[in-house]
């Protein structure tokens, strides 16, 4: 028999890919149920308006129409969309507007017809009489006296105010050599997964059973929320996340349409499908970021940072989605980055505006934090005339200080920031590129070098860090089938990350079987035990840890059985090459199948042992993991146009041990791309009246291949002590490191002109203006 190779750490082609590259994968819109009706949602063009009346008569009698509902039809019949994060003011969040609309795109009515064309025909016949109200889109204006109030019952637009005071910061400010003050903005972004959202619901009247296919990252949590909103028992609701075309946090949520379509299917007794269009996606799928931060940074003249005092204004939008007010907390907690900063304090003011809700978007609070930390380091270097690399080195948490408790109360698991920085500097040949930069400037070329050393928080995490209904644990079932092949049921819900491959690698190695002998199942609440989902770079570090717990339970059982068959103690046994073998002598073995046969046989070798080979486990992390790294980019700014061109992009990431180098590279690439997009291109723009300007991809600049550089990747490996694999997570790292890295590079390019800071996105026009103004002065 051929030798079964090891898979962990190897370059393994993904198990997911054959169905995806052959066009046979099944996304929500690809699920076909006979008699399915199509839903189209009518949305508000107004950012803020009272609804006087809605005339649906013509729509109801249009060809093919099965139902038309407005907010009035749902009043007191269904619940609202939940927000599970604590906040002072949590408004009722209806499925269809109740008397008032509060953002452009808010759902006002829904039409169900035999197909989407006919549903759209009918939707166009609905007449809504709106009484427009003044709107507010600027979060800093939303709290001013006289601002239009979104939710009258609160009397103002405050969502909540979080204060983490620390008198030590004020002391540091008082005694500092210098206090650097600046304001930076993490602009609002749209996640834009290539597959928009979509829901298909199928009510089975006789069994009182609702099945919902939805494009989500959290099928189980969604099932709980959906059952609650619709008033159904949870064991009568099945949620399936079929193939999911990207999420980036936007599908870590529970949306109006998911409940609405479930309601409609039950009402009509037929399958109902709603597929989001891109305009709806840009207007009504959660946005990310949208934080303004005022910073005061006391420093010593040698570059030592003594503290950070921050005030955040966080734009929550018009309603609160699942985790909306929880996101900014991560920005405050993580804003000290990889630095031993003795004192921090922050205040976060979260406000309602006439915009779509913000919520998690790749990084969720940590990109904002890393941007604060890394812009701070460059600002310190600029103000004190120091090299940005030196400033970072001076403030790094030293390698021997881990586990390190930050002044914000987090405990960093492990880290070696200097090594990652050094490796990146070595790859770019830092002295050489600095010399080249100086030479270029002599010829009127503005070349900039940007460094960002980031740390982020992953593997979320201990449940106490999260709201009660979104716990931090994860589950996994491992079942060795009678033919000695393995089925893994995981509670995470991958949507592009590739855990069907990485989990198969891990399970195959653990049992000494081929990767083809492992099947990984996820995303169906009727098949998979309750789980939490995929977000926060937790799939491997939490979901994988749960997997390994179950793996070892099954291994233990196999070893016990084998030990009776081999007459060797269980702890002397190991799995290799489809056998159970003696650790000390691999030639002494029995076929794995023989042990499995015994486990499933009519007569267990060990009296009293339950037949079968499966185990379910839940891993509750004791702490979070803290991946880190250094990114360096070299850019050139065209002074005639302000256009930024990449000359180099180097990323050194440390995500602990690596299960699949190919997939890690893919995660880092994609993360960098989205981080660069924040730095240079993307911004959700609402005008001052709350009108959405970036309503299509004709205006929202998601980058194409030509707008991004070639990435040069390298790694350092500092295992995490918090999980058996020593992994940290890598799903968001690229996004977190790249944004400040690129902004720092562009600002470095313009440093000779005296430019201090420009807010993102660094559109060419902004740079051109800065260059022009500087040259004028």
């Amino acid at each position: 028999m051929a030798v079964v190779p090891k898979f962990v750490g190897e370059r393994i082609k993904r198990r997911e890919d054959p169905r995806l590259i052959s066009g046979t994968a099944t996304y929500v819109d690809d699920v076909r149920l006979p008699g399915t009706l199509a839903a189209v949602v009518l949305r508000s063009p107004y950012p803020h308006a009272r609804i006087n009346s809605i005339d649906v008569a013509a729509a109801r009698s249009a060809p093919g129409v099965a139902a038309v509902l407005t907010g009035a039809d749902l009043k007191d019949k269904v619940g609202g969309i939940p927000c599970v994060a604590p906040a002072e003011h949590i408004p009722f969040h209806p499925l269809l507007a109740q008397g008032k609309v509060r953002f452009v795109g808010e759902s006002v009515a829904v039409v169900v017809a035999s197909d989407a064309y006919k549903a759209q025909d009918a939707a166009n016949l609905i007449e809504v009489d709106y009484d427009p109200l003044d709107a507010v889109s600027d979060p800093e204006k939303a709290l001013a006296d006289g601002a239009p109030i979104l939710h009258e019952e609160f009397g103002n637009n405050l969502v909540t105010r979080a204060l983490v005071p620390n008198p030590a910061v004020d002391e540091a400010i008082a005694k500092a050599d210098k206090v650097i003050k600046f304001r930076i903005v993490n602009q609002r972004l749209a996640p834009v997964p290539m597959e928009p959202r979509g829901v298909l619901a199928d009510w089975h009247q006789a069994s009182g059973h609702l099945t919902v296919w939805t494009s989500t990252q959290i099928p189980h949590l969604l099932r709980s929320a959906l059952a609650a909103v619709l008033g159904l028992p949870e064991n009568r609701v099945r949620v399936i996340a079929p193939e999911v075309g990207g999420g980036f946090g936007a599908k870590l949520n529970f949306y109006r349409e998911e409940a609405l379509v479930g309601y409609l299917s039950r009402m009509l007794g037929k399958p109902v499908k709603w597929i989001e269009r891109r305009r709806e996606n840009l207007a009504t799928t959660t946005h990310g970021r949208d934080q303004i931060t005022y910073l005061e940074v006391p420093v010593k003249n040698d570059g030592t940072v003594l503290g950070i005092k921050a005030k955040f204004i966080c734009d929550m939008g018009a309603y609160l989605q699942l985790l909306t007010p929880a996101i900014p907390g991560f920005s405050g907690l993580m804003m000290t980055g990889c630095y031993k900063i003795p004192a921090t304090s922050f205040e976060q003011v979260m406000v309602f505006t006439n915009k779509m809700a913000t919520d998690a978007y790749r990084g969720a609070g940590r990109p904002e934090a890393a941007y604060i930390a890394e812009r701070t380091m460059d600002m310190v270097a600029l103000e004190l005339g120091l090299d940005p690399v030196e400033v970072r080195r001076r403030n790094f948490i030293p390698k021997d200080a881990f586990p390190y408790a930050t002044c914000a109360g987090l405990v960093y698991d492990s880290g070696d920031y200097n090594t990652a920085l050094n490796k990146a500097l070595e790859i770019v040949d830092y002295p050489k590129i600095r010399a080249e930069q100086a030479e270029a400037l002599k010829h009127g070329r503005y070349v900039g070098i940007g460094v960002a050393s980031y740390v982020e928080i992953c593997g979320i995490g201990p449940s106490v860090m999260l709201p009660p209904k979104v716990p931090g644990w994860e589950s996994a079932t491992v079942r060795m089938e009678p033919d000695s092949r393995v089925t893994v049921l995981t509670g995470i819900s991958p949507h592009g990350q590739g855990q069907e491959t990485t989990f198969a690698q891990m399970a195959a190695d653990a049992f000494g079987i081929d990767i083809d002998d492992v099947a990984v199942v996820h995303g169906d609440t009727a098949i998979v035990q309750y789980g939490v989902g995929t977000f926060g770079s937790r799939g491997l570090s939490v979901g994988g840890a749960a997997l390994m717990m179950s793996v070892s339970k099954v291994q233990d059982k196999l070893k016990k059985i084998a030990s009776t068959m081999m007459e060797a103690p269980p702890d002397q046994l190991t799995f290799a090459n489809r056998t159970v073998a003696l650790k000390s002598d691999a030639t002494k073995s029995i076929p794995l199948q023989a042990v499995v046969d015994a486990a499933y046989g009519w007569k267990m070798p060990i009296p009293g042992m339950e037949p079968g080979l499966d185990a379910t486990s839940v891993f509750e992390p004791t702490g979070c993991t803290f991946p880190f790294g250094t990114h360096i980019s070299v850019v050139e700014v065209d002074p005639d146009t302000g256009v930024v061109k990449f000359l180099r992009y180097v990323a050194v990431d440390d995500c602990g041990n690596i299960i699949s180098p190919l997939l890690v590279a893919g995660q880092v690439h994609g993360g960098i791309a989205q981080g660069i997009a924040q730095a240079l291109y993307e911004e959700v723009v609402y005008d001052e009246n709350g009108q959405l300007v970036t309503a299509t991809l004709m205006d929202y600049a998601a980058p194409r291949a030509q707008m991004l550089p070639r990435y040069e990747l390298a790694h350092t490996v500092t295992p995490s002590p918090l999980n058996p694999m020593g992994v940290k997570g890598v799903g968001e790292a690229g996004t977190i490191g790249s944004t400040p890295c690129v902004v720092n590079a562009v600002m470095d390019a313009l440093k000779p002109l005296g430019v201090r800071h420009i807010d993102m996105p660094l559109r060419p026009e902004k740079l051109w203006r800065a260059i022009r103004d500087a040259k004028k002065a």
Partner: protein, 179 residues
Amino acid sequence: MKITGEQIMPAPRQRVWDLFNDPDRLARLIPGCEKLDKLAPDEFAGTINVGIAAVKGSYAGKLKLDEIRPPEHYKMLVDGKGKQGFMRGTGVLDLTPRDGDPNQTVVKYSGDVQLGGPLMQVGQRVIDSAAKMLMGQFFAAAEAELKAEAAGAVARQGFFINFWRYLLNVIRSFFRRSS
């Protein structure tokens, strides 16, 4: 969105005022008005059709006048909507004799208008130009009308319809965004 601009009309202020208050004549200057109802002496409702390229739309609107000070000033409040979008806002019109030439009038306009809906969402990159184009057409026609009037031509059409049409053009001019 804010808009300001000015245009010089080749006639004394009173005559420009009269023209801008004479929908009969304004009707000839502005295409697209389908119907107009007078709700009150200073309030109107009507429908217009506007089309650029393949995009055609019908808009219903209400208009209220305020701060009327003949022959130099009024303010208007506009609220119009159609399937393809809405506009909502205020505009101010001021007429002053041109320095040194009482036979010419400076028409100053300023407004603050909100636009929304599908057309604005997909057409934002050209909506400025669309407004400028319509505005330009209007003032060119107004100039021609004033010249023709000076030459003795007589206007024939209904007052309110034309007044409404004129105002709609001014409203359209607010599409010009002050970015």
